[in-house]
Structure formats: structure tokens, C-alpha cells
């Protein structure tokens, strides 16, 4: 059982590194991405500082309007950034769906670990996927793999400096936000 668990950890480290490598090749190293990222980071920090400054005093209507305009501009930049990343997300998604399918068949019906808790009903479908019996403390490959990926991918992104800055993440925005009209 320990061998299977460690193998899954190893697989998720390799796939996370591979995914980041592919994203670097397709996105991170491009001039367009770097320019947009710098712009988003700079604007997010600027906006945060301005919001803090305005928070202390009663903002005038004009100041609020300017703030809204900057927020809209930032949202649009964030949307563009997400669109650039989308290309690699599709490629990675496609590769890893195929890989996951193969791994799923390798670990088919195998209990890779014993859970020290009974997962909530919502997660039992994943944690007990493809396993025989009704002992919900049995752990399937896919459950452990998802947990490993959640942990390892984010840490690798942070270590390599590919994670989005906090200010940008806080300001939100993304591809699925409707485009905002910038009033000039």
C-alpha cells in the first residue's frame, strides 16, 4: 500500500512539473504574457494602495469614478491574461485526461490507501471510485492523485514564481467575466 501511495505522489510531482514546463513553453516565456502580467501586478498594487488611501477619507464622486475606471481596466487586463493562459490549459487538459485514463486502468479496483476518516457523501464518489465493497475508508487512486496535485502543483508554481501575485488574485477577474467598457 505504501508503495502505491508513494508512486502516486511521484506521478503527481512529475505531472505537475511537466504541466508547468509545458505552460512555460507555451505561455510564461512569451513576451505578451510577461507584459500583461507586469501590467496586472502593477495596476493591482496601485489600485490597492489607492483604495486604502481613499478608505480613510470620504472619497469624492470624482475620485470614486476614477477608481471604478481603473478597476474596469484591471479586469480587462486580467481577462486578457486568462485568455493567454487558456491555450496551454487546453493542451495540458487534453494530455492529462489521456494520462489519467491510462493510470485509472492501471490502478483499477486497487485500494491504494486507507483513509483515517470517512469522506462526506459528496466526495465518496471520488474516494471510492472503482473500488469493490462498501468500506468508505478505502481510498481510490484518483482521490489521492487529486489531493497530491492540489498540494504539489500550487507549491511548485509558487517555488518557480509562476503563481499569480496576491494583489492580482485579490482583485479577481478572469476569462469568464464580461468585458467592461472603459469610458474615456
Amino acid at each position: 500500500m505504501l508503495g502505491d501511495s508513494l508512486l502516486i505522489v511521484f506521478i503527481s510531482v512529475v505531472t505537475a512539473l511537466l504541466a508547468e514546463g509545458l505552460t512555460w513553453l507555451m505561455v510564461y516565456r512569451t513576451e505578451k504574457y510577461q507584459k500583461l502580467k507586469n501590467e496586472v501586478d502593477k495596476q493591482s498594487k496601485k489600485l490597492e494602495k489607492r483604495k486604502e488611501a481613499l478608505g480613510e477619507s470620504a472619497a469624492s464622486k470624482n475620485q470614486k469614478r476614477r477608481l471604478n475606471l481603473e478597476e474596469e481596466k484591471l479586469k480587462n487586463h486580467n481577462r486578457d491574461l486568462s485568455a493567454v493562459r487558456m491555450k496551454s490549459m487546453f493542451a495540458i487538459g487534453f494530455c492529462f485526461t489521456a494520462l489519467l485514463g491510462t493510470l485509472n486502468s492501471v490502478f483499477e479496483g486497487r485500494i491504494v490507501a486507507k483513509l483515517p476518516f470517512v469522506p462526506l457523501g459528496l466526495f465518496q464518489g471520488i474516494s471510492h471510485r472503482g473500488l469493490p465493497g462498501s468500506d468508505f475508508t478505502d481510498c481510490s487512486f484518483i482521490f489521492l492523485y487529486i489531493l497530491c496535485t492540489m498540494s504539489i502543483r500550487q507549491n511548485i508554481q509558487k517555488l518557480l514564481g509562476f503563481a499569480p501575485s496576491r494583489a492580482a488574485a485579490k482583485q479577481g477577474g478572469g476569462l469568464f467575466q464580461p468585458p467592461q467598457a472603459t469610458n474615456k
Binding site: S5, V9, K114, F117, C139, L147, R166
Partner: protein, 113 residues
Amino acid sequence: MKNPQGVYERAFTRNSPWPDKEELLDVVYWSRQILAIIIGVAFGILPLAGIFAIVLYCGITTLAMNVYVSEFQKQDLEEYGGFFELAKEGFMSAFASFLVVWIIVYSSMHASL
């Protein structure tokens, strides 16, 4: 992190200056990851099981990070977005790390198949 050596020293020094808030938040992020792994190993060895262990983990890490920032580093929590904003810093990835380590240690030491 611009100067990891300096950040590392300040992280262990009481009441250090943190002109760049991001650096302290990075310290909180990585401390939470390390704490998650330590707690995961401890809970797996003991063994602690069930929802109680998960709640205990959440309580320990949230409290530890907030006490570290407000008491050890003497920083104003509000400057970092308040108690919950700090509690959220790296929470999901640390929680996943905790679960992975806990599950692996527990099942290799206490589970029989």
C-alpha cells in the same frame, strides 16, 4: 522573495520589521505548509482519525499563523486583511498536503488490508 536569506532571519526574529507585506505572507504560506506536514505525520503516527482530527488541524494552523503574526511579529492583523484573510493564506494547498501525509502515514502504519 527578493532576499530569502534576510526573510529567513527575520522570520525567526521576534518583532522584525516587514516593510513588504508580501514577504511576511510568504513566510505564513510556507510555515503553514511545513506545519501541515508535521501535523500530518503526527496525526498519522498517533493515530488520530475522523472529522475531529480535521477540525483540530484547521484550528491549530489558523491559530498558530494568527498568533505568529500578531504576537510574535507584533503586526497589525488588519494591515493583512484581518483574521480570516490570514487564515486563508495557502489554506487549500496546505490542507491537501496535510491530508496526503496523514493518509499515507496512517495507512502505512495502522491499516491492514
